[in-house]
């Protein structure tokens, strides 16, 4: 996961808050991923403009702890599941 890549949700998935489960969820054609609050925060910052490093820095400020590896690993898993794409340009 390059730190200067710019992550965003892929076109076919959508994130929303689910009042039933009181969690954010990531919805795709054949999948539902129930996110924990940190995951939802990370994806909320993935707008295709911020880099992976910038997302981690912002999150670090919010949580007051180092999250670099956590952010990269989380996004990596979602790239594998084709929910997130990384713009290298």
């Amino acid at each position: 996961m390059p730190g200067d890549g710019r992550p965003r949700l892929t076109r076919h998935v959508r994130m929303r808050f689910d009042a039933t489960r009181e969690r954010h969820v990531l919805l795709g054609p054949e999948s539902v991923i129930v996110l924990n609050p940190t995951g939802a925060d990370i994806l909320g910052l993935c707008d295709g403009r911020r880099t992976v490093s910038e997302v981690a820095t912002e999150l670090q400020a919010r949580y007051d702890r180092v999250v670099d590896d956590e952010v990269a690993a989380f996004l990596d898993r979602l790239v594998t599941r084709r929910c997130v794409e990384i713009d290298d340009a």
Binding site: R11, H12, R14, R16, D18, T20, R21, V25, L27, G28, P29, E30, V32, R82
Partner: protein, 359 residues
Amino acid sequence: MPEPFGLLAELTYRCPLACSYCSNPLELAAYDDELTTAQWQRVFTEAAELGVLQCHLSGGEPLLRRDLVDLVRTAAGLGMYTNLVTSAIGLSRSRAEGLRDAGLDHVQVSVQADEPATADRIAGIPAFERKLRAAAVVKELGWPLTVNVVLHRQNVDRVAEIIALVEDLDADRVELANTQYYGWAWRNRAALLPSREQLAGAEEVVRAARARLAGRMEIVHVLPDYYAEYPKPCMGGWAARQLTVAPNGDALPCPAAQTLPLPRASVRDQSLRAIWEDSPLFTAYRGTGWMRDPCRSCDRRETDFGGCRCQAFQLTGDAARTDPVCHLSPDHALVTDAVEAANAPAGRDEVLVPRPHRG
């Protein structure tokens, strides 16, 4: 009590196609009395209240419902991810624009084979060219496109050509799903079940295509459970994650559950919540308490949930038995006999029985 994630709304069993692998029930006439627009809208509202996040609009052919745009608008307005599962027959550009404006999220188009002669023979009507045009409209309107190809003995040898076609259509995903033997497919099983050699060939093609198309197109390959060692985790567990509502309002934990000898549960008589939480059809096989050995003491009981209850019933007459697909099932010979017949050296010339067109 688990909360369901997905609703399969089988809006109608009417269909312009006559595919012999169709999983719709054999008694199609029993479903002619379809739910009204207002009844479906109530079902969607109750489903959303129950926690449903995905609404698959399917059939039969859902485009035959004249109220489809209104139904999509309702489901989308409830925040559900809406997925149209269609043959694409009847998906004109104006119809597609109406659906897009109503908030439809995703379209899945079925394709029967890579070229018109085979595809139209399987579909029972000249549908191939119309499907390609409709798939192009899906892309032009900016939707992600999934192409679904049901694989079987008559088309599995063409999987390389099928993948090439799907590439030409610029699909985002392709599902190469071997036939599941319910409904009309069950009736046609002997003519549809591929041989071991056919499957090995397809698997090699898919492996190479996945490597070549990585990052461009997702390839989902569903192998026939008859050849598996363990059964599929049907529906993610009985009445655990999904539910189906049939065209006549019957609510089902699995689309094939209308065959089971349990009292019907209809959205005409009860709320979806009452059905989900309390109806015998939904509670009978929820969790693991109903299991007998070998499932009861199996380490995989929470992994595959004993397989498919409807398949167990279909093959053994008892829905509480282990899915005979499992190599640990005492009834496993029912599956291996069918597999051996599909691999008999003489080769067979089974005739496909098409499901009737209903328009």
